[in-house]
């Protein structure tokens, strides 16, 4: 009896040991399988660069390069610039000093200033200015979180209202040839974030909204300027690239990544005829692209870091007149650089 009981106990112990070994073996196999899968995924994740749409690495075509014409001085830390349809008025949003929008004539003589009613210098911060084909001026006031409307002389006309009764955080603005307004909104708070483009009719009616901060090629991270070409393509400058969308807000491709022909941190964008201009802020230059085809091709680069004439220091905004004259907000040189084709 005793022998049988001992044998049973031994058998039971062996069975438990065997079961335990089976469980351990299964766990080990699953762990090793998981580890292999993890290493495979990790390798794939790190070996493949993030999606970028490459442009042909064409050398710059020197004959396309605009010529330096001069500078307009007397502004402090210009952030954005716009030009009237007749090219006779230049509107400059200042980041320091009075922090108003200065109205200059073509020679740089000051004609007046634009500032929100009942504000002082520390209440306001114009970050973007745009002029519609009829000469109406729109100014994005970042601290006030408003888009204000003025006539060409700076008379206050009203404001562009957000789509619903909510706080919004406009940062940039662009206008297309028909007068539609493209407001770049960048709101990034712990409890809510909106990185998007809102399209308005010139009358102020909201037409469409597109974009978000998704971590994918179409994602908009702090969009801050917008331009639209004749094909209806919308060029949105973000922190990491110019994201290009079709007229329906569908993502097409991106221009970014630095190097010889791509912007590092793009800021101002503008379109004139078949040319796209991108201010490459962190490379202190302006890049030009030919956009007559399906994809842009690089055309020229001007600028370079420095204080001498023709050089740029942290340029931000750009505007192009109807005749193709370029106005670049040369921020840290406290001036507007003027170039022309």
């Amino acid at each position: 009896m005793l022998g049988e009981r001992v044998a049973e106990q031994r058998t039971a112990r062996l069975t438990r040991t065997r079961d335990l070994m089976v469980v351990m073996a299964i766990l080990l196999l699953l762990f090793l399988g998981g580890l292999a899968l993890f290493l495979l995924l990790y390798r794939l994740n790190t070996a493949v660069p993030r999606v970028r749409v490459p442009l042909p690495q064409a050398p710059f075509v020197s004959e396309n390069r605009p010529a330096f014409e001069g500078v307009l001085e007397g502004v402090r830390r210009p952030l954005s610039v716009a030009v009237s349809p007749d090219g006779q008025r230049i509107y400059v949003a200042e980041g320091w000093g009075e922090r108003a929008v200065r109205i200059l004539d073509a020679s740089g003589r000051e004609l007046g200033t634009i500032a929100p009613p009942a504000t002082d210098v520390f209440d306001r911060q114009p970050t973007a200015v745009a002029v519609t084909p009829d000469g109406t001026v729109f100014v994005v006031e970042r601290i006030l979180r408003r888009v204000l409307k003025y006539d060409g002389n700076g008379k206050f006309l009203g404001e562009l209202m957000p789509p619903v009764d909510e706080d919004w955080a406009p940062l940039g603005i662009g206008v297309d040839a028909s007068g539609k307004l493209y407001v770049a909104e960048a709101l990034d708070l712990p409890d809510r974030a909106r990185h998007r483009i809102l399209v308005f009719e010139s009358t102020g009616q909201l037409v469409s909204v597109f974009g978000s901060k998704e971590d994918d090629p179409a994602g908009l991270s702090f969009p801050h300027d917008v331009a639209v070409d004749a094909q209806g393509r919308v060029y949105v400058a973000t922190i990491d690239a110019v994201k290009v969308f079709d007229e329906n807000g569908q993502f097409l491709f991106a221009l970014g990544g630095g190097g010889e022909v791509m912007p590092g941190i793009p800021w101002g964008v503008a379109v004139h005829d078949d040319r796209l201009y991108v201010v490459d802020l962190t490379n202190h230059r302006l890049l030009g692209y030919d956009i007559s085809g399906e994809r842009p091709t690089s055309s020229f680069a001007i600028g370079g870091y420095g204080t001498e004439l023709g050089a740029l220091r942290f340029p931000q905004g750009i505007a192009v007149s109807a005749t193709g004259k370029l106005f670049i907000a040369d921020r840290d040189n406290d001036r507007i650089a003027v170039w022309a084709h």
Binding site: D19, V23, I26, L27, L30, F31, G33, G34, L35, L37, F38, L41, Y42, N45, T46, V48, P49, R50, R76, R77, G95, W96, D120, V121, F122, D123, Q125, T127, R142, I143, R145, D167, A169, L171, A186, D188, L189, K213, D215, G219, S221, F222, H224, I239, D240, G257, G258, G264, I265, W267, L281, T282, N283, H284, Y305, R313, F314, Q316, R331, D332
Partner: protein, 358 residues
């Protein structure tokens, strides 16, 4: 047996899913973190062959580079001293404005527009030596901030002016879960975890030097850590310990910073006693002064909640700039002859706690 096998399989499946779950790089850190082996973020600020500034920077003006984004474009607007989007006041104040008013004193970093000119950043960190004047040097944004990120939401550096402000041997301030990358072989070598967990579980520690132990539910103070120790890497005299010459206090927590001699000994040309920092404050100030990093204790520490009111430099001072004014007795008071980055006009910060009229 079947039950055991079932449980094992479920556990194994959960473990496997957790193991292979793809870890994504945060998109919210901009160029200040979230680097992976194929990162392109370096190019936001650096060039390998065409740099024009130190450290391969794309500009010789650090301030200009920083305010490209931090002047209204992104959440932290250090020029206007507010959080973009809801206009909440920044803890550090602003270089041009605070609460919609002009600054009256700032840390004049190099590149900061001043009047018609631009600051060179050259200056003296007051309180840095026995005679009152201190460390001389060029102040830049990167004197205090690490643009490559840290666990601190202010991305403050783990050392300043060449001095680590905590104990480098034992508790070096390293990014939580920072990846050590082998760039040549394209491998992640290890993951470093900061034992003190500055980032999440004990946010007060890196700012106040107060360390909450959830096990014992006791908060201790470590005076050589935290925000005030950080400031004292340039304003060095404030690191003088209790018990030094002329210090009448024997309270270990009463971190009292005397000069090399006491004011009462007749040597009037030396620095005086310094206001205590790292002192726990349990009252309610008249005006909203900042104490600990969070101002509130963790939910599981109701007993020690008041101890999170750790008194430190940033309780009274802004780091970037202030709109406070100084007049009357407060005007012209050395060492700075100005509003000294204080929160409130004149010495409103004193009255906030020392409520002599009540």
């Amino acid at each position: 047996m079947r039950r055991v096998l079932g449980v094992a399989l479920v556990l194994a499946a959960i473990g496997t899913v957790l193991l292979v779950w793809p870890s994504s790089t945060s998109a919210n850190n901009g160029p200040h973190g979230g680097y992976d082996l194929a990162t392109d973020k370096c190019a936001a600020c650096h060039r390998a062959h065409t740099a024009v500034g130190d450290d391969l920077l794309i500009a010789d003006d650090v301030y200009g580079l920083c305010v490209t984004c931090h002047a209204g474009a992104v959440q932290t607007d250090v020029v206007n001293g507010l959080r973009t989007g809801d206009s909440a006041r920044l803890n550090g104040g602003g270089f041009l404005a605070v609460s919609g008013e002009a600054t009256t004193s700032t840390h004049t970093v190099a590149g900061l527009p001043l009047g018609e000119g631009v600051s060179t950043g050259e200056g003296i960190a007051w309180g840095g030596a026995g005679s009152g004047e201190g460390v001389e040097g060029v102040l830049e944004c990167t004197s205090c901030h690490n643009p490559h990120g840290s666990t601190n939401y202010r991305i403050l550096k783990d050392s300043s002016n060449g001095y680590p402000y905590d104990n480098p041997a034992a508790h070096r301030w390293v990014p939580n879960n920072a990846e050590l990358l082998d760039w040549v072989n394209q491998q992640v070598l290890a993951t470093v975890t900061d034992g003190y967990n500055y980032a999440a579980g004990n946010a007060a520690y890196y700012t106040t030097g107060m360390n909450y132990d959830p096990g014992t539910r006791v908060t201790t103070i470590d005076p050589i850590k935290g925000m005030s120790a950080f400031c004292a890497t340039c304003h060095k005299q404030y690191l003088t310990k209790s018990g030094s010459a002329g210090n009448p206090s024997t309270d270990a927590n009463y971190y009292f910073y005397p000069g090399t001699q006491d004011a009462r000994d007749g040597a009037l040309d030396v620095a005086r006693h310094r206001h205590v920092v790292y002192r726990r404050y349990t009252g309610t100030p008249d005006q909203a002064l900042r104490f600990g990093a969070t101002g509130t204790a963790p939910a599981n520490d109701p007993v020690n909640a008041p101890s999170y009111n750790g008194f430190q430099c940033l309780t009274c001072h802004f780091a970037h700039g202030t709109n406070a004014t100084a007049s009357g007795y407060a005007a012209g008071v050395d060492p700075t002859n100005d509003s000294a980055l204080l929160f409130y006009d004149n010495r409103g910060v004193c009255r906030s706690c020392h409520q002599k009229d009540k």
